[in-house]
Symmetry: C2
Subunit: 433 residues, 2 copies
């Protein structure tokens, strides 16, 4: 294929495989240099700094940077409301099933341990703007936050050209019970959510994808005095497709392009199993590319994307596990039977009738997913991202008699006498009492 670099998997050694799995490098140091002053300005000057950056970067001079969602009169076509409603319902259905039960275990006679799940109190959801507002991200972050029971949901999104909240975002903000909308984007919005300002309440945890400045801001803030955690490090979006001879090249081409149109830094990989029709794919790709409005973005993304050739689907899956893609489409025979072999991926799309778009918008799974190979150790956003757990334990006097000697021995081994004595003094009183 002319447009995409092609490698035969069995001709690559470990070094070669690692090389093609490596994502385009982000220069974090230079990002940090740009982002840090923004974070510090917002920390110091609050609302004034946010206004200043919104004017500078978005060209909008805002008086009120924070809006009460309930005050907004949302005008949106019924068809769009309906589509958002269905997406919210599906996301709710899948996420509510993720509720972990509280737990109680008697680990020894008289010693009971329990775990209680609590919603994180204040969460900040960043919904990027860009070429168009992205209500789907508001759905993907807002619905689990509401389902988890977070008390304060603050949504941040860049203002539209009129300095207003885009109607579809406003619609979702109302449905998820967001307390406030911060009309700001980029690192300045993230900083406002983390530090708080005169009009923005600081939050406990930051969520949401964004450009590289947003990502750098989140990473810096999670290590700062702002006392804030983040959902996951998010980079440019990625898709790996495994296609065998049963895959329709038209669909594979459409899926590759759906990922490529995200941005020029998106990465698209096709693992073609022997028998898949690559010539047909090339024809389909060129034809479909010509039909796309975002053709130049997609072309740029394809320029650093590639094809790997596999003899068997297992070989393709091994490569996928090494790559650890954000999105994985298994467009091959008996896709469901391959689930067990997927070790590292954010979200997986099974069979020929499940394009990635379904998960991006409405199937019910979350679209905030680990990129860059982080699927090895991070999960996508889920209900538990909006929760924390607290453990409890209680010993009865008899329980203390059972467990006490063990604790005394272990504390003694570590030379922590006061730890030991906290038990011994009690046992003494029990035995004398």
């Amino acid at each position: 294929m002319d447009r995409l670099k092609t490698y035969r998997l069995k001709e690559l050694d470990d070094t070669g495989l690692d090389r093609i799995c490596r994502r385009p490098r982000i220069d974090l140091e230079s990002l940090v240099t740009k982002v840090r002053p923004i974070l510090e300005d917002v920390r110091r000057d609050g609302d004034a700094a946010i206004r200043r950056y919104t004017k500078k970067f978005d060209g909008i001079d805002l008086r009120d940077i924070v809006v009460d969602p309930e005050s907004l009169d949302v005008t949106l076509p019924d068809e769009e409301k309906h589509a958002l409603d269905i997406a919210m319902r599906n996301v709710h259905r899948f996420h509510r099933e993720q509720m972990s039960m509280n737990l109680e275990v008697e680990t020894m006679p008289g010693v009971t341990c329990s775990r209680v799940i609590r919603p994180i109190e204040k969460v900040g959801l960043y919904v990027p703007g860009g070429s168009a507002p992205l209500p789907s991200t508001a759905v993907m972050l807002g619905v689990p936050a509401l389902t988890a029971g977070c008390e304060t949901i603050i949504l941040a999104t860049p203002p539209d050209r009129n300095g207003s909240v885009p109607p579809a975002i406003a619609y979702v903000a109302q449905k998820i019970g967001a307390k406030k909308i911060l009309l700001a984007g980029g690192a300045q919005a993230i900083a406002a959510l983390a530090w708080g300002s005169e009009s923005v309440p600081g939050v406990d945890k930051l969520f949401g994808p964004g450009n590289q400045y947003v990502t750098a801001a989140k990473m810096l803030l999670q290590n700062s005095e702002a006392m804030v955690s983040i959902d996951l490090p998010a980079g440019p979006s990625e898709l790996l497709i495994i296609a065998d001879e049963t895959a329709d090249p038209d669909f594979v081409a459409a899926d590759l392009l759906s990922q490529a149109e995200h941005g020029p830094d998106s990465q698209v990989v096709l693992a073609a199993v022997s028998g898949f029709d690559l010539e047909e794919l090339e024809t389909a790709l060129e034809r479909q590319l010509g039909e796309l409005p975002r053709v130049s973005i997609a072309t740029d993304a394809l320029a650093h994307s590639f094809i790997v050739l596999a003899d068997r689907v297992e070989e393709a899956l091994d490569f996928s596990n090494r790559y650890a893609p954000e999105h994985l489409i298994l467009n091959c025979r008996n896709a469901v039977e391959l689930m067990d072999r997927v070790e590292h991926a954010g979200s997986v799309f099974l069979g020929g009738w499940t394009p990635e778009s379904l998960g991006d918008y409405a199937s019910g799974t979350n679209h905030t997913l680990p990129t860059y190979g982080y699927a090895r150790m991070y999960s996508g956003v889920s209900l538990s991202s909006f929760q924390k757990s607290i453990t409890f334990q209680e010993a009865t006097p008899d329980g203390l008699k059972h467990i006490g000697p063990t604790v005394e021995t272990l504390a003694g081994m570590e030379g922590l006498d006061a730890h030991r004595l906290a038990v011994s003094r009690r046992l003494e009183k029990l035995n004398n009492g």
Copy 2:
């Protein structure tokens, strides 16, 4: 009380409360300046750099920095083995119950979403040394890693004076099936686990408490090209005790001291509810302090610890939630009934017979917990810390017909035509086929 600063809660406004809740500041910038060169040396020079730093900081010249646990002949008194066995059993009992079930939800007719839990493949467990080896940390990290099914467990701990693995750590390493033990401590050990070296396999996730250099190393590495995540930011240990008139001052004094002996930077807070005998406490504290070998550490810790006076237990709990302590002892009447009111805490100890030591060693809960106020948004280490989840979705042709129009509308709203077309091209073929 002479030794501890005392505040009456109702005389403090928000600013005053926030001030006493603030932990002693860590100067992260100066730490970073010290730690970064270590991380870079280890990245560049691998084993040689690790050896160099072990010689420099621990005064030990090691030939083999990595040991196979199975090769070790462990000599440990039976009583100590037995105590470690009981701790491991209890931790296993509590953590195995945390296993989340795989999940399958049909969100719309023909659209099935599922979630599968997978162990994180390679984990690195840091077990600090210090004045004595801490086998309890090996238990608290190793048992959940084993329970989760992590394939490669690497344990790192500083060598003892003879350049060997402390026997109690070796015993636990064998029991949890650790693949290797890295005999190194501090930032150099963390760097080795993250970057990997000639003899240390790089891991996916870093676990474990440690001194401020270890914490700084973990925080820097989670934002680096090492592609590694961390359990949670951990600072100096903390304890808040709520004691009412039913609390035995002897026990309260013992618990305060058990926390204070951890280190001079440990923080201890007593919220005394009206009726608790503070004079008795003072007497007990002075008497017990005199009996402690680590008296100077405990005295230093007590110097920046304090008492708050509350009229009612609810007032004390409100303060505790603001402080968000790592450990919370509820030494008061009907402690179990107060569980629902605990909003922010790492682990909670209920009633007069449950000293913190139980959870530190053997009750079954994890002792790796959020400090510094991070209990607002982080959980302690749990089974899920060693797991990740992957979501899957599958649409049947009928399912695609149901969900397709919703996705087409939403993709259209966001101006992502290729996303829309990935659905439309399939629907077209279905309708014509």
